[in-house]
Symmetry: C2
Subunit: 296 residues, 2 copies
């Protein structure tokens, strides 16, 4: 019995159609037929009721579908976890981060890592829809920078700093002097408000508080791109102050009242030696009073 056979079984149990399933699993229908038959023969359990045209799960099949779906998920996770432990030998760490720290905090942080752990290999990922909690617990990342705090008994969080949210406008724009009037007329270039990121929810809150229905002409998930488009005069945006560090000309960052935090999160029961080293280093280096300026 192979794990692959079990995965074929689960795919067929869902699809209940040999040709479609085979296609999705990148094998031929006849191979799938034989693998399922081999599984049934080995187990001595009939998993599917088949006729010339239809496939149905038996009770035993349904039971195994339910149980094995979970088993395979856990199995894959355990392997990822073991890989993390193994990778600890060779000095590898996976880091996820929100795009907004790309130009300011993150380069500084990676610099500190490089100085102290010269052989460290870093895998950087900017998840599109942030679910740092799941990524950490699923062993898909080791260190997650996030804009909001993760509340989970198995995850440690530390607040690194807080920065203002800014209105970003072209240099000679009527709003560049700081008088925030008639925002309703403006064209916005912002991240999608339907997104599940913390920043998107903060945006929604801000627009609601200011009684604005934003006229979004361009939606982008890349803050650097947004700042660039604003500098070209295509519209205005709202972004964390740290995007100022991108060094794009012809834009003005006007601080708003609202602030946004940055947290560092990691698993409590970390077994990967390298990850533990990085976290320890990060905790010792980031002796911050809560403001970004204190970052060493």
């Amino acid at each position: 019995m192979t794990i692959q056979q079990i995965k074929y079984f689960l795919a067929l149990a869902k699809e209940l159609h040999f040709w479609n399933t085979a296609e999705k699993m990148f094998i031929s229908q006849s191979s799938l037929s034989r693998q399922i038959q081999a599984l049934e023969d080995e187990l001595q359990i009939q998993l599917f009721e088949r006729d010339k045209r239809n496939v149905k799960l038996t009770n035993a099949g349904k039971f195994l579908q339910e149980r094995w779906t979970k088993t395979i998920e856990e199995f894959d996770q355990v392997i990822r976890q073991a890989k993390k432990i193994d990778e600890g030998k060779t000095g590898t760490i996976a880091i996820t981060y929100p795009g907004s720290i790309t130009y300011d905090f993150l380069p500084d942080f990676l610099s500190v890592l490089s100085d102290n752990l010269p052989d460290l290999k870093v895998e950087l990922t900017e998840p599109k829809d942030e679910d740092h909690e799941r990524l950490l617990l699923d062993y898909q990342t080791d260190l997650a920078f996030s804009r909001d705090k993760i509340n989970n008994t198995n995850i440690d969080s530390k607040k690194l700093y807080s920065e203002p949210i800014c209105l970003v406008v072209p240099e000679h724009h009527r709003l560049s002097k700081g008088e925030l009037t008639d925002l309703g007329k403006e064209k916005f270039i912002i991240s999608g408000l339907h997104r599940t990121t913390f920043f998107a929810s903060l945006l929604r809150t801000w627009f609601a508080k200011n009684d604005l229905e934003p006229k979004t002409i361009i939606e982008s998930d890349f803050g650097g791109m947004i700042v660039n488009l604003v500098s070209k005069g295509l519209g205005i945006s709202i972004l964390p102050l740290s995007f100022q560090a991108a060094g794009i000309k012809n834009v003005v960052f006007i601080e708003l009242e609202e602030r946004i935090d940055l947290f560092m999160n990691w698993r409590k029961n970390e077994l990967n030696i390298t990850v533990k080293k990085v976290i320890e280093l990060a905790e010792n280096s980031l002796k911050t009073s809560g403001n970004r300026r204190d970052f060493m």
Copy 2:
């Protein structure tokens, strides 16, 4: 990756010696070497540190040993469970029972089953060391007759009857008239007192209560054999009354004060149709007031 590879890994992780492990797994050492290597290659994780003479687990290996040991146990159990569900179609039930009901209750019970479910296939097992709770929860049996009640939230129990414990002596023995004196001099033929069965613990209690250190000359786990040896005059014994139904001549059963119960136990969340039928039938047929004589 195959389940067998994982089992090889777990065996080697325990043994830490390729030749010994290969022997135990009934394959050649070179095959084992290759399977482990294949597993490491597929996972991209180093599981063992090997030199020319020694094998040691890596940290990742230790982690996987711990997690997979449990995973494989559960895996095997789930398959057994699924098999039970599948067997429900063909009418199969596994029953475990203590040897003492062999001659009396069990034949009657099987007779009722046969009358009402003529196509039923029954797998009977008399476990040497009774752990009915584990056997039930591990899906290794469906219906467990036991001398004591199982207390488990996932197991239903029903008391069937109660019968006296008897002193079993040869027909013309000095004790056959019923005067129980000088038992300390007698040679006993009994089940091993070290055993984990309920009956063994009852025996130990009885001997302690009567301040006897039994001189056991023959130890047997088969009640019928014990009764036979007693009838031949080799010694005396203590057994439940139901052994009288074995119909062995030249023995006398002298009732003692102590009684012993019989319980029927089954899983609450039973999915096997046949097992559910049998249990329902048993519950309806065994309308007993607690004494054996009321068994229909």
